[in-house]
C-alpha cells in the first residue's frame, strides 16, 4: 500500500491502464482531465473497478455514492484526494 497523500492524473492513468484487460485497448493519450469517462471507454462498471484498485493501493475508502455524478478524471481525482486527506 502506498502512503501517498495525493494521487495525480498520471497515477490515475496508470491504474486505468492496469484495469484494462490484455484483450482490451484504451486510448488515454493527451489531456484527459475533462474528458468524460464514457469517451475514454469507462462505463460505470469499469470505473468501479478502477476505484477498487485505488482503494486497495492507496488505502483510501470511497463510498459508492461518492462516485455518483463523477464524470471526468478531474472529478474522480477530486473525490479520491478528498478521501485521502480524510484518512
Amino acid at each position: 500500500m502506498s502512503d501517498a497523500t495525493e494521487i495525480t492524473i498520471d497515477d490515475l492513468k496508470r491504474i486505468m491502464r492496469e484495469s484494462a484487460g490484455e484483450d482490451e485497448s484504451i486510448d488515454l493519450d493527451g489531456d484527459i482531465l475533462e474528458v468524460p469517462f464514457a469517451e475514454l471507454g469507462y462505463d460505470s462498471l469499469a470505473l468501479l473497478e478502477a476505484a477498487g484498485r485505488i482503494t486497495r493501493e492507496y488505502g483510501v475508502s470511497l463510498r459508492d455514492d461518492e462516485l455518483d455524478g463523477v464524470e471526468t478524471p478531474r472529478a474522480f481525482l477530486d473525490a479520491v484526494n478528498a478521501a485521502l486527506v480524510r484518512v
Binding site: 484494462a20 484487460g21 469517451e39 462498471l45 469499469a46
Partner: protein, 351 residues
C-alpha cells in the same frame, strides 16, 4: 468535454457510418427529454411512436417527462417502449439526414429498433411487437441482471440453472442474469472472489431461459406479420453476425430475443472487421460508446465512436449539443455538406 474526437487530426479515407442502438439497462431518468423539448424533428418522430402505440402511450410519455413517474422507469412497461422510441427516432433522424449506414447493430431491444430502420418491420408492426412483448414479459418471473468485469469463460463456476450469462458485451464485460435469490448468491461469491460487479437496471431476468415461456407467447403475433429481409446491413446481437434474410423472417428468431443471450461484443467485432467505421450511438447513456472505445479498432483511432446523447441527461441542455457534435463529425468526414449542422439542428425551439 472533448468536443471533437481525436480522429479530426488524423488523415483518413472516408469511413462508413454504422449505427449502434442500446437496450435494457441504458434507460435513464430524463433521457433525451432535452432533445424532445428542443428539437422539433426528433419530437415528431418520437410522437409517431407514441401515436402508433395508442392507448397507454400517454401514461408512458407522462412518466418519461416527469421527475416523479407513477410507474418506475426500470419496469418493462416504461423502459422498453421508451428505449425503442428514442433509439428508433434517433436512427430515423440520421437516415433522414441522408446518411446511408453500412451497418446497424442493436443491443437487446435496440435490435428491434435497428431492424425497423432496415425494413424488417414497419414502424406500426414494430410497435405491435413491442406492445406484445411488454405485455408478455410484464407477467414474467422477477429477477435481475448483474454486470461483471470478467470474461464469459471466467463465469463458469458461478453459473447454474437459475443464473446464466445473459450478455457478452466485450472481452471483459459480461452480464449475468437470473432470478432474484440465486443471482444474489452468485453476486456474493463473485464479490468474495474479487470481481467487480454492478447491478444493472432490470427487474426481470432478461436474456435468461426463465423468460422463454413468456417470450415465446409472441410467436403467433409475429407469425401474422409479413417479416422482410433487411434492406440495410443489419448485424444481430443474437448470432454475432450479419442477420440473414432467413433469420429476419423467422418469427421465433424475434420472439426468443428477450430470453436469448446477447452477443454484442462478438457482433461489434464482426462489424468493425468490415473496415474503418464511424460508429454513432443512437440512444441514451453512452454505454455502447464506452464498450466500443475499448475495441482495438477504436482505441487505435482507425475507427471512431460518437454519441447522439450525453452520458448523463443532466438538465437536458447537453442533448442538442451532442447531436450537433455528431453532425459536425459527419460534415468533417464528408458525409454531409458543410453547414448541414446549422440547417439540421437549427436554433431549436422550446415548444
Amino acid at each position: 468535454m472533448r468536443s471533437t474526437p481525436p480522429s479530426d487530426t488524423v488523415p483518413y479515407a472516408r469511413r462508413g457510418v454504422a449505427l449502434l442502438f442500446p437496450g435494457q439497462g441504458s434507460q435513464q431518468a430524463g433521457m433525451a427529454v432535452g432533445l424532445y423539448r428542443q428539437h422539433p424533428g426528433f419530437r415528431d418522430l418520437v410522437d409517431q411512436v407514441f401515436t402508433a402505440w395508442g392507448p397507454g402511450a400517454k401514461a408512458v410519455r407522462d412518466d418519461w417527462l416527469t421527475d416523479t413517474p407513477r410507474v418506475p422507469l426500470d419496469s418493462v412497461g416504461r423502459a422498453q417502449p421508451l428505449l425503442f422510441a428514442i433509439d428508433w427516432a434517433l436512427g430515423r433522424m440520421v437516415l433522414d439526414w441522408g446518411i446511408r449506414p453500412v451497418g446497424l447493430l442493436g443491443h437487446s431491444v435496440g435490435e428491434v429498433a435497428a431492424a425497423t430502420l432496415s425494413g424488417v418491420f414497419t414502424l406500426d408492426e414494430a410497435v405491435a411487437v413491442m406492445r406484445d412483448r411488454v405485455e408478455h414479459i410484464s407477467g414474467a418471473p422477477s429477477g435481475g441482471m448483474l454486470a461483471v468485469r470478467a470474461s464469459a469463460e471466467q463465469m463458469a463456476p458461478y453459473l447454474h440453472a437459475d443464473v446464466v450469462v445473459g450478455a457478452v458485451n466485450g472481452p471483459r464485460q459480461v452480464m449475468l442474469t437470473g432470478s432474484t435469490e440465486p443471482l444474489a448468491e452468485s453476486e456474493r461469491r463473485l464479490r468474495a472472489d474479487g470481481f467487480t460487479c454492478m447491478r444493472a437496471r432490470a427487474v426481470n431476468p432478461f436474456h435468461s431461459p426463465a423468460l422463454e415461456p413468456a417470450a415465446l407467447r409472441a410467436v403467433p403475433a409475429l407469425s401474422a406479420l409479413p417479416l422482410r429481409a433487411p434492406r440495410l446491413p443489419l448485424y444481430s446481437g443474437y448470432s454475432g453476425a450479419p442477420m440473414t434474410g432467413a433469420e429476419a423472417t423467422e418469427p421465433r428468431f424475434w420472439a426468443r430475443q428477450p430470453a436469448a443471450p446477447v452477443l454484442f461484443g462478438p457482433a461489434l467485432d464482426r462489424l468493425l472487421s468490415t473496415g474503418d467505421l464511424l460508429l454513432v450511438e443512437a440512444g441514451p447513456a453512452q454505454g455502447l460508446t464506452a464498450l466500443a472505445k475499448r475495441h482495438p479498432a477504436v482505441a487505435s483511432r482507425r475507427s471512431a465512436v460518437v454519441s447522439l446523447l450525453p452520458a448523463r441527461p443532466g438538465d437536458g441542455s447537453g442533448d442538442l449539443a451532442a447531436v450537433r457534435s455528431v453532425l459536425e463529425q459527419l460534415v468533417a468526414e464528408g458525409h454531409l455538406a458543410s453547414g448541414a449542422e446549422a440547417e439540421l439542428v437549427g436554433a431549436g425551439d422550446s415548444r
